[in-house]
Amino acid sequence: MAPRYVGLAAAFVAAASVATVAFAQDAERKGIAAPPGHVFKTIISGYEFRSKETRALQDDDLENPGFLAVERAADVWKKVEGAAGKSCMSCHEQAETSMKGVGAAMPKWDDKLQKPVNLEQRINICRTEHMKAEPWKFKSQELTDMTTFVRYQSHGMKVAVKTDGPMSPWFERGKQIYYTRYGQLDLACESCHERNNGKFMRADFLSQGQTNGFPTYRLRDQRLVPLHERFEGCMFDVRAEPFKPLSDEFLALELYVAWRGIGLPVETPSVRN
């Protein structure tokens, strides 16, 4: 390693990041103070990295296309399905009270399965075990709608996952995945969302890759996208073979990345490009 190169590169990187500050108006990006020992000083929602128009769309409950999912699922909540003759409501009554806070604390440890489960999995466990109904497929409109609806009941509440006890090996596994470089482009989540957040890459400002807005309405896809589909997309883009949605690997990653956004308000349904 020739020190000359390092110095040059460092100088240029510094120049580039000064330009970024002016460009990206970092000062406008509001965040929350991270707890001690966290990787970031300031934890910033992906919302802050999007354009004024995209943010306005998210903020307007009437215009935000994600609310169509909330409305659809509010009906399904009451609908009896499966051999047990039950609806979600038969067990949980009003979602507005019974589901408050649930989506802010996912993934959660499941004593019976002896592993963490996320919201999509939890919904399908209810369907198969309590309703005796078919589980919904991952990425199906039904599952993503219901996930959005349940998480919306925590709107504005702080992300608060538990990472200790039996969760800790899962947290460590997620962290390891986060820092591992994958694919032909040899990039880790860290390469983009930790080291380079705030910088411009092609059509997007890179965010911290936070999960507080999921499922998120993507303007590009014109539909709500669940978190593990986003993970898949990021891995695919670096020409890596993504882990499978709802795999142990993505569950561990979901837990770890949720911790990186601890304290952020739940924004579901958020709007992104």
């Binding site: 020739a2 190169y5 694919g183 032909q184 059509a203 073979e241 499978k244």
Partner: protein, 151 residues
């Protein structure tokens, strides 16, 4: 645990399948001398015009995703990951530029810049790219010829 093991095997099988159809790729060896690659990868000089295309094309170099060049400002979507490449020909020799493009981690420790002429030592590469470098030797030489025009 069982399930993820099974998944791992399934993955091995599918990678094996891809291999069966194509000749086994040898890992690329680079003749690195003093943090540089003096020898042309093809034995012939590259073409700067072709190199500019490689530089701009998303499925090839996609260099603009991370770098800026002032006289390419008309192109949309510059990136800010890496430094501006204005005047880069004055900062490095051709041999140094060749190594920076072929395998930049040998020079910039832990950089996010991908190695464009490397085909092993990578993790979970999508089957269609296994054993392949991002650019061919000729494309690397073309990019080098283009970088040399950036005085």
């Amino acid at each position: 645990m069982r399930r993820s093991l099974a998944a791992a095997f399934a993955l091995c099988l599918s990678v094996g399948g891809a291999y069966a159809q194509e000749p086994v790729k040898e890992p690329i060896k680079l003749d690195v001398i003093n943090d540089s690659l003096p020898k042309s990868l093809t034995g012939t000089p590259g073409n700067a015009e072709a190199g500019k295309k490689v530089f701009l094309t998303r499925t090839l170099g996609n260099c603009l995703a991370c770098h800026q060049i002032t006289n390419l400002k008309s192109e949309e979507f510059h990136g800010e990951f890496g430094p501006s490449l204005d005047g880069v020909a004055g900062r490095y020799t051709e041999a140094q530029l060749r190594l920076i493009v072929a395998d930049p981690k040998r020079i910039f420790t832990n950089t996010v810049m991908p190695a464009f002429f490397k085909n092993d030592g990578l993790s979970r590469v999508r089957p269609e790219f296994v054993g392949k470098s991002i650019l061919t030797a000729a494309q690397v030489e073309d990019v080098i010829a283009f970088l040399k025009t950036l005085n």
